[in-house]
């Protein structure tokens, strides 16, 4: 066997002279001739007989060649050369196929790379399918949470979980050593990492002793912090570092891929060190977030049912009026991370798969048209002795070449598209930065293109070329033409669905952009300042800083008005109160329900002037009021009408918290958008930030109204703040920038879907154009005959266009029906647009009809211009 292999190998590389074979065969015929002559036949006749006896010399020669090892490799090269020549000869076809494949494969790959992270990637925890987030939901906190008052009871008496743990959130903290930095510190229970199944790569997890109120101060640091601040020095373990001015011992380093289950950024993990005994008695206790590992064989729904007893216990602790609005929730960590992204991700994936199907249909259609046009060539090759296998291989080679080139181009396009996504995408979309083309995704692309290629390239080759194809008279392939018509109608239907989706999102986005904000956003600059707690550790220091900053900015040229506030609309990150906490003097407090949430803002008197919010009734706060001890409040129109109806609220008394002080209503301000761009406006009240300690926090916003260009004013503001304290980092942006940022995500979704819809539409149009042009070309002769018999050009135009119109109407009707059914899915992404918005549907139908008709009329007009004489003489 081995010897045989080496012999073959030797022959593979040594080339034989073709003359040798010729000489050998000539010798054979010579011998036969000699024998015949010896038998007494005349020399010519002898030679003739010898040749006849030998048979086909050329065939023998070829067969001898085919015995050569590696012969078939040569034929592959031949196939490739032939295919390349064929593709070069037909550049329009080649470019159309490659462009279609690039677009289809590229966009699918790019989008798959993005949604892969959201929908399918494994979370970096051991057996992450058994990890769940557990808690109560109430209007006050959107995600499920726990309260110290019930957490320990749950932990000790729950049945469905193997392990139950908690964290108390992430807050900013400062690394106060030689290389200071603002970090985020997460507080977790000692059982946090073991429950998630995460082990530190260096050092150890927290000990139970360290998770007590007076336990030793310890921390686990993230891999990124270890890398950036400690140069990956393993000696960091046991070192003391300064966090917020305290000496903290590093006990370990977290794995590189570690992330908090709720995806908050965390550089440092510290024990939450809650006093269990205090929390158990507390009402309501500390807000916590609980995570648990399910016992094997128990699902989230089952766990939820099993938790009912402890849930009832927690309900009994809640204030009676609120109980109806408190619910229990158990869901997988992935659900908690991606609940609001999921729909968008699926829609994106669906859209891009729709584009891919249109692209595949186009490639199929193009290849079929090519096969029909080449039927004669194939028939000729069959007659010349090409075997079926050889023809199929040839077709396969050609499609694989196309698919391979398409895959390469598609990958390049995908990389470009992915970078564009990341560049365009708003900061708020998690996972996108992590998206990249990995081997799996490239494999996915290759598989896709191979399947596309196989399916559509080889099918036509499987059919035996009909002998009739040899006669020039006949040129059609009925079955394929029918299939191609179906494909085109399908493409139109799919583009219709994509287009309606895009149109609905576009309309929704316009509504979002054009809604009234209720305030002036241009010319207002906001500096968000968060003071480091280590140096500004008393309220008085914080007040001093902000008052000095306010005064400095007021003196600044170009500053028309300067306000200080704890938050700014329209984002929803303001503090809140429960509606039913508010009592009106002389009326009983409502007894049931929460009544929803009310926004609360601490402001200085200049706030309304700075933001251009009119006071519609009563008065504004006064500067002198900042020094007084009066409790006054300004209501938004919405809150005023909910509390007082048509009654005049000015000078009425309100109690904002049960047993709290009474406030006098000073005035009514116009409503401002205050719950994001798409959220329903919340009722709101404003409190005056007086010069007393508990009215101030470490975080405040300085808003400056200016008539100068904001870009010019920004460095002045920075300079003023730096004069007070040069080490404070802060962000400045105009209000219109922050409003624009709120629209980032809908803008991104809308832009993507629109892009894919237009891709799909243009591909479908190319397909439609191709089919009509092909059908028209096939009927050239028929058109000639018709015209010779007296048909007018308009009748010819109608004949060809009718075909297109039929395809368009079938596709549009099917697409419209599908779009009506699928539009419901978009519902939660839409703002102030009905999912069955008639205007959007009408506009899309009109657009599709017009462009599709245009794509039909171009080839139809070409058919109309056929010269009958030429058409008949042709062939």
């Amino acid at each position: 066997m081995i010897a045989e292999f080496f012999t073959r190998l030797r022959f593979l590389f040594t080339r034989r002279k073709p003359a040798d074979l010729d000489e050998e065969l000539a010798f054979h015929i010579e011998q036969s001739t000699q024998r015949n002559i010896a038998a007494g036949i005349s020399p010519e006749e002898a030679r003739r007989q010898a040749i006849v006896e030998f048979g086909a010399v050329e065939r023998a020669r070829e067969q001898c060649h085919e015995q050569r090892p590696g012969w078939w490799m040569g034929t592959v090269a031949q196939d490739v050369r032939y295919a390349l020549r064929g593709l070069r000869r037909n550049p329009v076809f080649t470019i159309a196929v490659l462009a279609t494949l690039t677009l289809g494969i590229g966009s699918t790959t790019a989008v798959f790379s993005v949604v892969d992270r959201i929908l399918f990637r494994p979370l970096p925890y051991a057996h992450n399918d058994r990890l769940v987030s557990v808690g109560l939901t109430a209007p006050i906190i959107p995600e499920e949470f726990m309260l110290g008052g019930s957490y320990y009871v749950w932990r000790d008496s729950q049945k469905p979980f193997e392990a139950f743990t908690s964290e108390t959130g992430v807050s900013p903290c400062d690394l106060t050593e030689r290389n200071p930095a603002r970090l985020s510190c997460a507080s977790v229970e000692a059982s946090f990492l073991p429950t998630l199944g995460v082990a530190p790569i260096l050092g150890r997890n927290f000990l139970l002793d360290e998770d007590r109120p007076s336990g030793p101060k310890v921390a686990l640091i993230s891999y990124a912090l270890w890398q950036s601040h400690y140069a990956r020095d393993p000696g960091v373990v046991n070192r003391l570092i300064d966090i917020d001015g305290n000496q903290v011992r590093v006990v370990g380093v977290l794995p590189k891929d570690f992330e908090m289950p709720a995806l908050e950024a965390a550089d440092v993990l510290m024990p939450q060190a809650l006093d269990e005994a205090v929390q158990r008695k507390a009402d309501p206790g500390r807000v916590m977030y609980a995570f648990a590992r399910l016992k094997p064989g128990i699902g989230a729904a089952q766990a939820q049912a099993m938790l009912d007893p402890v849930f009832q216990y927690s309900l009994s602790l809640a204030p009676a009026p609120f109980r109806k609005e408190v619910h229990l929730r158990v869901r997988s960590i992935r659900d908690r991370q991606t609940h609001d992204l999921r729909l968008a991700a699926w829609i994106l994936l669906g859209a891009v798969l729709a584009v891919l199907s249109i692209a595949c249909a186009n490639v199929a259609s193009l290849l079929m048209a090519r096969a029909a046009a080449r039927e004669r060539e194939l028939a000729v090759r069959t007659v010349l002795g090409a075997s079926r296998a050889r023809l199929i291989r040839q077709a396969l080679t050609e499609t694989l070449l196309l698919a391979g080139a398409g895959a390469v181009l598609g990958c390049i396009f995908a990389e470009i598209l992915l970078r564009a996504f990341i560049a365009l995408a708003p900061v708020g979309i998690p996972f996108l930065l992590m998206a990249h083309l990995d081997a799996r995704i490239v494999g996915f692309t290759l598989l896709l293109s191979l399947v596309c290629g196989m399916l559509f390239g080889v099918l036509p080759a499987l059919e035996r070329p009909r002998a009739a194809a040899l006669t020039a008279r006949f040129r059609s392939s009925g079955a394929h033409a029918w299939l191609r018509r179906c494909l085109v109608a399908g493409q139109i239907a799919v583009s219709m669905v994509l287009l309606t989706g895009a149109a609905l999102l576009l309309r929704s986005f316009r509504n979002l952009e054009e809604q009234k904000m209720g305030m002036e956003t241009r010319g207002v600059l906001a500096a968000h300042i968060s003071l480091p707690r280590s140096r500004y550790n008393t309220p008085q220091k914080q007040i001093d800083f902000f008052l000095r900053a306010e005064a400095a900015l007021k003196r600044m040229p170009g500053a028309e008005s300067v306000a200080v506030s704890d938050s700014l609309p329209p984002g929803g990150d303001h503090s809140e109160n429960i509606f039913n906490n508010i009592a009106v003097a002389g009326r009983p407090r409502p007894a049931s329900g929460t009544g929803g949430m009310v926004a609360r803002r601490w402001i200085t008197p200049a706030y309304f002037n700075t933001l251009g919010v009119p006071i519609v009734r009563g008065h504004n706060f006064t500067e002198s009021g900042r020094g007084s001890a009066e409790n006054s409040v300004i209501l938004s129109s919405l809150l005023a009408s909910r509390l007082f109806g048509k009654q005049d609220p000015v000078d009425q008394k309100l109690q904002l918290e049960p047993d709290g002080p009474w406030f006098t209503v000073l005035g009514i301000a116009a409503d401002v958008k205050n719950a994001g761009l798409s959220g329903d406006d919340e009722p709101e009240y404003y409190l005056l930030t007086r010069n007393v300690a508990d009215h101030w926090a470490a975080h405040s916003v300085l808003a400056v109204k200016t008539s100068l260009a904001p870009a010019a004013v920004e460095p002045w503001i920075r300079a003023q703040i730096a004069q007070i304290d040069p080490t404070i980092p802060f962000e400045i942006e105009t209000l219109s920038q922050s409003v624009g940022r709120l629209a980032d995500r809908p803008r991104f979704e809308t832009a993507l879907l629109t892009f894919f819809a237009l891709c799909g539409l243009s591909l479908a149009l190319i397909g439609l154009y191709g089919v009509i042009a092909f059908l028209a070309a096939q009927r050239t002769q028929e058109i000639g005959v018709r015209m010779a018999l007296g048909a007018t050009r308009v009748q010819i135009l109608r004949l060809i266009a009718a075909e297109g119109v039929r395809l368009i109407s079938i596709g549009a009707v099917v697409g419209l029906a599908a779009a009506l059914a699928l539009a419901q899915l978009l519902k939660s992404l839409l703002f102030n647009v009905d999912a069955h918005d008639p205007a959007s549907f009408a506009a899309v139908t009109l657009l599709l009809a017009v462009v599709a008709l245009a794509a039909t009329l171009i080839p139809a007009r070409a058919a109309m211009k056929v010269e009958p004489v030429q058409a008949l003489r042709y062939e």
Partner: protein, 114 residues
């Protein structure tokens, strides 16, 4: 190309190898000899003789050398190699097994008829 298991082709290979046992021989002589020995029952189509010779050569079972023919013309002489001889033995055994098996089947068939 992978070795063919085609019965006819395999048989032709066997015949060629057997023919070459006495000594080197050129293609024409191989054809003549097979026809002669089979009393003209097996007529080797030249169309398949040469491809078969080349195939065996590529496999390394026979070797080809240029030499002078009996009437002093340049001709290609084929001779068995060592692997070829081993292969011939193996092929003969296979053939024996096959033919006896076929005989057995045919014998049974005739018994059943009788």
């Amino acid at each position: 190309m992978p070795p063919s298991t085609d019965l006819l082709q395999g048989t032709l290979d066997l015949l060629i190898l057997q023919t070459l046992v006495p000594g080197p021989m050129h293609g024409w002589a191989v054809a003549q000899r097979i026809e002669l020995l089979s009393r003209n029952a097996l007529e080797i189509g030249q169309g398949s003789l040469y491809p078969a010779l080349h195939r065996l050569e590529y496999k390394g079972w026979i070797r080809a050398d240029w030499g002078a023919s009996e009437n002093n013309r340049r001709a290609k002489f084929y001779s068995l190699t060592r692997t070829g001889k081993k292969q011939l033995e193996a092929e003969l055994k296979k053939w024996d097994r096959l033919s006896s098996a076929i005989e057995l089947v045919l014998g049974r068939a005739s018994e059943a008829q009788g």
